[in-house]
Symmetry: C2
Subunit: 402 residues, 2 copies
């Protein structure tokens, strides 16, 4: 077994996939806004979706089709979320799938669909239809097409978010690749996290769902920019793998590869959060359970007082420790310890002496600021990544008026 | 029964109280930082306190002394929270009470204490002792002294926060007055909400606690600046009233008066939140229960996307409705309706046409922006007040480095 994440995919894309990303005029910027991923043969797909009760049409459709074993394609448009669009929205999402199905020769039920962008507006279907035709004509297994497909799902993202990995089992190498878009704001409405993980490893649909859920719980479910759960959040895992499913002993290697690229892409998403100047890498130890640790990590990462302290390079233990104190799970105050960038600043419930000017400078110079908080003697641990909070974030989200 | 809130107390202060507020050098600004409230005779006191597990020394002391029937005084210092100060902090809090007790002639257990300001630093007891002596020498029942006492509990507050009311029962008039300090940040650490409600109405300690809890649940527990629960939050109710306790039929009038001034002062606190440009007045209807409605209101009020939309005068229904959708309580999406400043912009799950430019202008010109959200057909309602989120907030909390 080996697993080795590469930032640039090179030749590491999984076999059995083709990609395209085109501009069809949904985005007024003229940037790519229609993405198509096609598997050569019917494959396995699993999905996990937003917990918001207000759910966009494409999420409703995908939920009904995953997990599945006969999936052929995922079509995604950016620039319009097709959310809060009623019956018309459902018909448009279905029409996108039917058109792809007709072009590649499968049933509409074998096509998944995602949307991201403005909510409450009906999709410009003429542009979408042209886009699907153009993307289909452009399908290719090469790296440029993979990049185009990844670009075409982006909205306010400054950077493309992709990662690849591979692992070997019984002398055979399998590949895993991921693309995602960020969780910042879409003018004029809320953002969406979309991610697709692809592999040529043969897996069952139950394996796919299990691996996907596990990876999400270590990656996309452990990041926060602004704590706002969108109507469209979707994470898919597609397998083009043919033949016998991976035996249980190979699943560990597969899980590790999926975890790795998911965490990598999720961290890109935080680093590229609107206005973000630092990634806060929160590590919690000593909670009663992993769930409690996650809750504490999430509370610390969501606190605007913690976020602004990190923005300012301020090793403000008071804000961090008190955020842990109101997370609504038990902590053990006399045993609380805190380190920032590896420097311990609070030990067993009391502040300790340290070189504050040096640490502050170190925090300001780091793109990623590690915050390690021990909250007691329990077995619970969690890792969580949050963006900091800057005046740019507030400007971006307040100065726009619909 | 009558109840009539006045912003300026005039002669409406409750009988049986004297006040003082002095500067003793805890704050480097030289502003008033030692506040003393004394009842002429032993009176009733109830208190409610922070839910944070990291608790300051004065909170530990107050918790052990309330509710009580032999309380004489409340001493408060600002500029230092006496939090995370260990055994020394407990001894200092007790010393403050003992000194007041010796001066006014009572036991130390009859004195309550509050602190607010920097955490993790030991109190400068020499200054505190001088301040208590000076405040004791200055005690007076007049309005100027009440103002001084209210000023001396403030920290980053821009404005004094006081309100008074009165009510009559069986031909006798009773008075109620409140002072509070705001929930913004204290450099270099987290803030504190402190509030004292005073009355000359005779009440039992169980009545006092019940009225206080009920008022807090409609006022201070329904506001948010940054969602960060401090180590020192304290709300006290003091009664100097002698004679028979109020009969049950008079408690309604008393409750109403306490509610009114508590809501008034709590809203001042939001309006004076750090960097706040608008108060978001959130009204939720149609939830399954009042508790569910409160949870939705709190989620909407805490969303940085909602806050920044209000800052920018953006009637962004997508951000508000989707925040309700992830509040983790059941809503009924097809029956969701939303009005801002009285203009309906979302009805039964879909956006409606309205004059967007006019509404945006109205939002920008309003100090208080009413947001009314109907989430279904249930009986649950809640009111909640939140500050918006501005670049000034971020600057204030990030540009300071300890």
């Amino acid at each position: 077994m080996s697993s080795n994440v590469k930032v640039e995919p090179g030749s590491l894309l999984p076999a059995g996939f083709t990609f395209a990303g085109v501009a069809c005029g949904i985005k007024s910027s003229g940037k790519r806004d229609l993405s198509l991923i096609v598997m050569d043969s019917p494959g396995v797909a699993a999905g996990i979706y937003t917990q918001n009760q207000i759910v966009a049409a494409p999420v409703v459709l995908c939920r009904s089709r995953t997990p599945g074993t006969q999936i052929r394609a995922v079509v995604t448009n950016s620039g319009n979320a097709n959310a809060c669009t009623g019956q018309q929205g459902m018909e448009d999402a279905e029409a996108m799938c039917s058109q792809v199905a007709a072009l590649i020769g499968c049933t509409a039920e074998a096509v998944l669909v995602m949307s991201t962008g403005v909510i409450g507006q009906v999709l410009p279907m003429k542009q979408v239809q042209q886009g699907i035709d153009a993307a289909h004509a452009d399908l290719s297994p090469d790296i440029d097409s993979f990049h185009n497909a990844a670009d075409a799902i982006c909205t306010t993202d400054d950077r493309r978010k992709i990662a690849t990995s591979h692992f070997s089992f019984a002398g055979k190498e399998y590949r895993v690749a991921a693309m995602a878009k960020g969780a910042g704001m879409i003018s004029p409405n809320m953002a969406t996290m979309l991610a697709v993980v692809m592999t040529d490893a043969p897996i069952s649909k139950s394996q796919a769902l299990q691996v996907l859920q596990s990876a999400a719980n270590r990656s996309f479910n452990r990041v926060s920019v602004d704590g706002h759960t969108s109507t469209n959040d979707t994470m898919l895992l597609l397998s083009s793998g043919q033949g016998d499913d991976l035996p249980p002993e190979a699943i560990t290697a597969f899980q590790q590869a999926v975890d790795e690229i998911s965490i990598r892409v999720a961290k890109m998403l935080v680093a590229d959060g609107e206005g973000a100047s630092h990634v806060i890498a929160i590590h919690i130890e000593g909670a009663a359970s992993d769930g409690d640790a996650e809750r504490i990590a999430r509370t610390v990462g969501a606190s605007p007082l913690v976020k602004t302290a990190i923005t300012g390079g301020d090793p403000n233990w008071g804000r961090i420790v008190s955020a842990a104190g109101y997370a609504e799970v038990k902590i053990d105050p006399p045993n609380v310890c805190l380190s920032i960038c590896g420097t311990e600043i609070y030990r067993n419930g009391s502040p300790v002496d340290y070189d504050e000017a040096k640490l502050s400078q170190q925090m300001q110079q780091s793109k990623e600021v590690p915050v390690q908080l021990i909250v007691g003697n329990g077995p619970g641990i969690a890792d969580f990544w949050a963006s900091d909070l800057t005046t740019e974030y507030v400007k971006f989200n307040s100065e726009y008026t619909t």
